[in-house]
C-alpha cells in the first residue's frame, strides 16, 4: 500500500521565499531532539553564550538572540528546548511546541525553522523531520556533529537527502564551525532550493520511523561505528564496584584540591585586597569616607571576593562533569537511591546542578514529566550545597577545624568536614523527598527514560567561557547586592553618630537590632553579630561573610585579628557547628524564592518551603549547639 494511504491533504507547500528588506526582524526557530547541539549552533549564530552541556535537557526555556546577515538585515533566532516529537510530555517540550506553533505571546511566531539533527544517529532523528516539515515553514535541515560522523566512518549523500525531503540540507559541526556558512546562506535566502516534495503526514510512530528509514536509505546513509571510547569508559564508570568508587575518589580529590591548591591562590587575592586597602587608607584623610571604604567596602566585600578562586575551581569540576557526558551516568547510578525516596533518576540531574546554584536547577526540573515529581524536586533542590554556601562553610571550617591529616596524607580534617556538610544537605533533601512523596506529593510512576550521550572531551574554550561567566556573576553579586547590604550595615553601625564619633558597636543601630534578636538565637549559640549576619544573609548567603568582616573590622577589639581569627574568638565551637548546620538547612536566598514562585505558579509552595527550611534550620542548629556543649 502506498504511503499516502494515511496522508490527507499532506505535503509541505512550495519552499517559501523570505520577504526581502522587510522591516521587522524575522524570527527563526532552532528546533531538534535533545542533545543534538541546538544551543551550540544558536551561540555560534548569535554570539551569545547560553549554557551548553553534554546531556539531554540543558535548555528548558526559549532564548532569543539577534543575528545580523552580511547584507545588514537582522534576524531573530529563537533557541528552543529539545523535543522528540510534537507531542509534548513535559514542561520544556510544551514550551518548544507552543513557540513553534505561535501559541506564545512573549515570543514571535517563527517564519522559518532550523531543524538540528544528530548526523551520527540520522535514522531515528529524521523522525522529527516529518512533523516539522509538515508545519509548512521554510526549513533548513542541519545535520550536526559532522566531525563525529566522519571520524567514526559514517557518510551520506546530501543531495539525495535534500531531494527526498524537498528541503535544503547542510552538514554542520556547530562546535567546530564547519558548514555554518551554509546556515547563513539559507537565512539570507540565497541557498539553492530543491524542488518541493509532497511529504506524508505521519501520526503514528512506527510509520514515521519506517519513513525516516526509507529516506535515510535513499540518501545512502551509512551509520558511524559505535563510539569505542564511550563503551570503554562506561565499562569503568558503570562497573558495579569500580563505578561508584571512582565517583567517590574523584569527589574527595576535588575537595582536597580546593582546600590545598586553592589556598595559596586565596592568599594571593587576600594579599592584593589588603595591599590595595592599605594603599587606599594611606591616601585618604581620616574621616567617614575612609571608614566607609576601608571598614565597610574593603573589609566587607573584600572578604567575600577572596573565595573566588575556590568557587571557580568548584565550577571547573562541575563543568567537566556536565560537558563530558558523565552526568547522565551519575543519574543512572543514583536512580535506585532516588527510587527509594519516590523520585527518579531524572530528578538527580537538577539536584546535581543545584550544587552550583539552586535557581537554574529549579528551572531544569522542567524536563521531569510527572508534575508531582517535579514539585518534589523543586522543594528539595535548595538543600543541595550551592556555591554561595561554599564560602560560608570554608570560612567557618578554616576558623574552627585544625589542618590535620587523616589516613596518611590523603585526606585532611577540613576536607572531611566539608564533605560532611555536603552529605548533610543531601540527606536533608532525600529525607524531605521521602516525606513529600509519601504524603502531599504522592503520585503514580512515570517510566524513567534517559538517553546516554556519548562521552566528549570538554573543550578548554567551553570550560574557560563558563569560568569567565561565573567570575562575572560572582563579582557582580559582590559589587551589587553584597556591596549595597554592606553599605547599609556600615551606616547603621555609625548611627547614632554623636560628638563626631561612631557609637560602640553594640549600642549602634545595627547593634541594637542584633541585641533585640539575641534572645531568640542564644539557644543556638549565636551572639548579636551572627544575628545581624543571618538577617543580611537573607539577601544572599555569602553576605554574612561581608557583614562579619565589616562588624569585626569596625570593632576596636577585633580590628587587628582578621576575619578568621576574630570569628574563632567570637564563637564557641558549639555555636560554629550550629551556624554550619543552620546554613546547610536554611533557605536564605531571595532569587530561589522568586524562581520557586514562578515555576510553581503561586506563593503557596515557596512559603511552605521557606517555613519548613527555617524551622529545620533552627531545630538543627539548636541540636548542634547542644551536642558540642
Amino acid at each position: 500500500m502506498s504511503e499516502c494511504a494515511d496522508c490527507h491533504g499532506c505535503g509541505s507547500p512550495a519552499v517559501l521565499e523570505f520577504p526581502r528588506n522587510a522591516q521587522a526582524p524575522k524570527a527563526v526557530a532552532v528546533i531538534g531532539p535533545p542533545n543534538s547541539g541546538k544551543t551550540t549552533l544558536f551561540n555560534r549564530l548569535t554570539g551569545l553564550r547560553q549554557k551548553v552541556a553534554n546531556f539531554p535537557g540543558v535548555t528548558v526555556e526559549q532564548h532569543t538572540g539577534i543575528l545580523e546577515l552580511p547584507d545588514g538585515r537582522a534576524l531573530q533566532i529563537i533557541d528552543l528546548p529539545g523535543v522528540y516529537s510534537l507531542n509534548p510530555r513535559s514542561e520544556d517540550e510544551q514550551v518548544a511546541h507552543d513557540v513553534l506553533t505561535g501559541k506564545r505571546t512573549d515570543t514571535p511566531r517563527p517564519e522559518a525553522v532550523l531543524l538540528v539533527l544528530d548526523s551520527t544517529n540520522l535514522g531515528r532523528h529524521l523522525m522529527l523531520a516529518a512533523p516539522i516539515l509538515a508545519l509548512g515553514l521554510p526549513t533548513l535541515i542541519i545535520l550536526n556533529m559532522a566531525d563525529d560522523l566522519r571520524n567514526r566512518g559514517g557518510k551520506l549523500d546530501l543531495a539525495a537527502l535534500s531531494k527526498e525531503l524537498g528541503s535544503p540540507v547542510a552538514l554542520v559541526s556547530a562546535r567546530g564551525g564547519e558548514g555554518v556558512d551554509k546556515v547563513f546562506e539559507f537565512l539570507a535566502g540565497v541557498m539553492a532550493k530543491p524542488a518541493p516534495r509532497e511529504l506524508p503526514i505521519l501520526q503514528d510512530v512506527p510509520k514515521c520511523r519506517a519513513w525516516a528509514g526509507r529516506v535515510s536509505g535513499q540518501a545512502s546513509y551509512r551509520a558511524p561505528i559505535p563510539p569505542k571510547w564511550t563503551r570503554r569508559l562506561d565499562s569503568v564508570f558503570l562497573h558495579p564496584i569500580a563505578g561508584p568508587l571512582v565517583f567517590l575518589v574523584v569527589v574527595i580529590a576535588v575537595f582536597q584540591t580546593i582546600f590545598s591548591i586553592a589556598d595559596p591562590s586565596k592568599k594571593a587575592v587576600e594579599w592584593l585586597i589588603n595591599l590595595s586597602g592599605h594603599w587606599l587608607a594611606a591616601a585618604l584623610p581620616e574621616g567617614l569616607l575612609k571608614s566607609l571604604l576601608i571598614e565597610g567596602v574593603w573589609e566587607g566585600v573584600g572578604s567575600v571576593i577572596v573565595f573566588l578562586p575556590q568557587v571557580l575551581l568548584l565550577f571547573l569540576f562541575i563543568g567537566i562533569l556536565e560537558d563530558s557526558g558523565y552526568l547522565a551516568r551519575a543519574a543512572l547510578i543514583a536512580d535506585r537511591t532516588m527510587a527509594k525516596v519516590g523520585l527518579q533518576g531524572k530528578s538527580f540531574i537538577p539536584l546535581l546542578s543545584a550544587y552550583a546554584c539552586a535557581v537554574p536547577a529549579i528551572m531544569s526540573t522542567r524536563t521531569i514529566e510527572n508534575k508531582r515529581d517535579r514539585f518534589a524536586t523543586i522543594l528539595i533542590a535548595p538543600f543541595m550545597t550551592c556555591s554561595a554556601r561554599f564560602p560560608v562553610y570554608a570560612l567557618i571550617v578554616a576558623a574552627f577545624i585544625p589542618e590535620r591529616q587523616v589516613l596518611g596524607s590523603l585526606l585532611s580534617q577540613r576536607t572531611m568536614a566539608m564533605l560532611g556538610l555536603y552529605v548533610l544537605g543531601f540527606v536533608a533533601a532525600v529525607v524531605t523527598a521521602r516525606v513529600l512523596k509519601s504524603s502531599i506529593l504522592k503520585s503514580g510512576r512515570t517510566p524513567f527514560l534517559l538517553e546516554m550521550p556519548s562521552y566528549r572531551w570538554p573543550t578548554v574554550q567551553s570550560l574557560g567561557l563558563r569560568l569567565l561567566d561565573r567570575s562575572k556573576v560572582f563579582l557582580r553579586r559582590a559589587g551589587t547586592i553584597i556591596l549595597l547590604v554592606t553599605v547599609i550595615l556600615w551606616i547603621s553601625m555609625n548611627v547614632p553618630y554623636v560628638h563626631g564619633k561612631p557609637p560602640a558597636p553594640e549600642s549602634s543601630l545595627a547593634g541594637t537590632i542584633g541585641r533585640t534578636l539575641e534572645p531568640a538565637i542564644k539557644p543556638l549559640g549565636f551572639n548579636w553579630k551572627i544575628g545581624i549576619g543571618l538577617i543580611t544573609a537573607l539577601a544572599a548567603r555569602e553576605t554574612i561573610i561581608a557583614t562579619l568582616g565589616t562588624i569585626y573590622g569596625m570593632d576596636p577589639k577585633t580590628q587587628e585579628l582578621g576575619l578568621q581569627n576574630a570569628l574563632h574568638h567570637d564563637l564557641t565551637p558549639g555555636g560554629a557547628f550550629a551556624l554550619l548546620v543552620f546554613f546547610a538547612f536554611a533557605m536564605q536566598c531571595i532569587s530561589t524564592i522568586a524562581v520557586v514562585r514562578r515555576e510553581t505558579g503561586g506563593w503557596k509552595w515557596p512559603i511552605l518551603q521557606f517555613t519548613y527550611m527555617s524551622v529545620l534550620a533552627y531545630a538543627g542548629a539548636f541540636v548542634a549547639n547542644h551536642l558540642i556543649h
Binding site: 512506527p206 551509520a223 558503570l238 536512580d335 517510566p447
Partner: protein, 97 residues
C-alpha cells in the same frame, strides 16, 4: 494500543526485556504499557521489530542501558518488565535467571 510485529517467522515464545543479560540481543515484540508511555518509548527507538541489545547497568542491575536504533537508553526494571521481546532462533539455550 496494539503494537505487534507480525513477522512470518515461527513462534518463539516472547520474554520480558528485563530477562536479557548483558550482551544479549532480541527483537521487540510489543510494549505492554499505557499509550502515552509506549509512544515515548517508540520515539526513542523502541519500536516493535527493532533489535535491542542489553548493555551495562547501574550497580544492582537497575536501571539498565539498552542499545536500540543507534542510541543508548536507560530503562528501569519496572519498565523493561512490560516490554516483550523474542530472542532470535540462533540464540543460545534459554537461561533461567
Amino acid at each position: 494500543m496494539q503494537l505487534s510485529s507480525n513477522s512470518g517467522q515461527p513462534e518463539v515464545p516472547s520474554v520480558p526485556l528485563v530477562d536479557l543479560r548483558r550482551g544479549d540481543a532480541a527483537v521487540l515484540d510489543h510494549i505492554d504499557l499505557p499509550g502515552d508511555d509506549a509512544r515515548r518509548l517508540m520515539e526513542l527507538g523502541f519500536l516493535p521489530g527493532t533489535t535491542i541489545t542489553a548493555g551495562l547497568s547501574a550497580p544492582g542491575g537497575d536501571p539498565r542501558v539498552f542499545q536500540v536504533d543507534g542510541s543508548e537508553i536507560a530503562l528501569r526494571r519496572e519498565t523493561a518488565r512490560r516490554m516483550m521481546v523474542r530472542k532470535p532462533k540462533s540464540a543460545k539455550t534459554p537461561r533461567i535467571s
